[in-house]
Symmetry: C2
Subunit: 384 residues, 2 copies
Amino acid sequence: MLRTSLQDLPASRIRELANVGLGRDDVVKFWFGEGDLPTPDFIRAAAKDSLDAGETFYASNLGLPELRAAIAAYVSRLHGTRIGEERIVVTSSGVNALALTCQSLIDPGDRVVVVTPVWPNLTSIPRLMNAQVTRVPLSCTDGCFELDLDRLLEAAAGARMVIVNSPGNPTGWTMAQPQWDALLASCRRRGTWLLADDAYERLVYDGSMHAPSVIGQVGAEDRYVSANTFSKAWTMTGWRLGWVVAPSPLVGEFAKIVEFNTSCAPVFVQRAALAALAAGEAPIQATVARLRAARDRLVGNLQRIPGVEVASPPGAMYAFLRIRGRSEDSFACAKALVEEAGLGLAPGIAFGAEGEGWLRWCFAATTELLDEGVARLRGWLGSR
Amino acid sequence: MLRTSLQDLPASRIRELANVGLGRDDVVKFWFGEGDLPTPDFIRAAAKDSLDAGETFYASNLGLPELRAAIAAYVSRLHGTRIGEERIVVTSSGVNALALTCQSLIDPGDRVVVVTPVWPNLTSIPRLMNAQVTRVPLSCTDGCFELDLDRLLEAAAGARMVIVNSPGNPTGWTMAQPQWDALLASCRRRGTWLLADDAYERLVYDGSMHAPSVIGQVGAEDRYVSANTFSKAWTMTGWRLGWVVAPSPLVGEFAKIVEFNTSCAPVFVQRAALAALAAGEAPIQATVARLRAARDRLVGNLQRIPGVEVASPPGAMYAFLRIRGRSEDSFACAKALVEEAGLGLAPGIAFGAEGEGWLRWCFAATTELLDEGVARLRGWLGSR
């Protein structure tokens, strides 16, 4: 019944796999991109206070002025730049930030270039707007992913938009600063839009405050949009709150597009985000420290298993691994792991053909759970 | 900077007018479609309990199974039919329900027919999906609006979709059952999708439980979608929660489209909706009784003002009026009312050319505020 042009839009292979484990409470699950901790108390308290205050009315399309200002201050401080609140739009989740951007900018037939393997939403959202999508695969050496920049720039000739998710889901690949600089220069020259999915920008493990970015270099007139979310850095996945940094002339137009999608985010959710930002770096650094320890433990343990190829990802919250002679058909392998070992990993094919042969393991979990997962993998490999 | 095909997408004229009154606290405002009461305590309490329980994680794309079941039971009971939960999708607001439907069904160039004057989102959302929009205006006699069904059916020949908002915003026009029946029969014959924006279905004032509808007649395979919201009947505007009733084969596809828009609604917001539904008819009947009294008082008072033409609307929550010799340019009139009388009404032009000459007055307000508004209108007319 779906419209013609969407009839081959792929369903989520992660969801399909999760259905295999449905109703089984003996599966240890690392398949979704979500941590195991609820949102900190003080953030939830701010939402409850807002509800008590009766803030249950419509809000402005672009977000509460005080939240836009707080986001602008946060992004400016983080990136050592000056971004005014007139460049901020509050959105109903990070994915909504990406959807609104594509709805604003993509005409039918426009070409959109995406670095892959990647979270499937980044290729499907442009398709929803009737774009042609060109995929530019990362290359891989010993489990480490790298971008051939020349190949990306070549593919981007004549494109309407380039989408980069760095640190990337599922690989953890993080684009280096010189590549960002060159990409921005090329996009400026060609008038191509550059959309940065910065959901994981705070989840980097080399001691930096954020992943490399050109957000500090772009002006209010540049064809550059950063899409972001409160989900990962503040463990607020279920709140559905994000934002974009966009050129000022586009923000007024964004107000219309927001109006036609969700109209606004709930005020009490925005109050929670204000509390999150007001707490400064502490909650984020706590998240990063926990994830770094989890990454090091999981990857170290996996690397000790014969036949497993995995590198330590520089960012995001996933180990991306393959198992010689086992994971070539990633969906079949992930399915067998659920059914035979009670271990829930995401199949690489969920992230496109470039991900085939790989498995994604979200390490936003307790040490105990991660260790149990490794034990199950070892047991499963040994028993075959 | 917006894409080519959206460059003439109109901005909200209501928003533009509201900006005229920005920073003035002496304006009595009836321009937005929102009541003046916060959400009932027991609904807010359910959200707070959910937050306390740590329900801050992702939820399934289609909504909590228990909420889908509760909505299915509610709709079935209300309309004396049997709609299974497999036909329900929870959405991030009523407007989001409409957006998802259009994203699922409209290919570029498809023609969409809309009964007007109407809430501008209903014509802009299809345009966002690159549809051609055909407007079918209601006719008006002594302030009462009526649909020429033959004209609608003629316009709908070859169209992909017909959108009907009944009771309608801004007119309160409510489509009669025989017209619904004939429209459904025609859509079935032609394979045209019928999208009912049922946001106001509970706000009817003749003692009926709901406005006329064909939802009780359609099967799981019919090309019929009802979009609805918790906003109006349960005074939950700021929560951004809605739903659709869709054909079963479309619901699985909807899951994908939801994934690419907001992915899911917050669990704690869905818990609030569950509490709202569990309370049964009492909160809705309280809303309807309050609005009926407000309508009767406001319309009665307006009808006593010389030169004012207004009829008692059978549904929704707006008086739609015109003032001889004054409101022909509705935006200029609304602007003068704000600036000279501190009275905030929505200009009819905000709802399309067919609304020009009219003003929309939301009567979801206290008696005192409505009376003050009428006094200001009288004073303004007398002083000119």
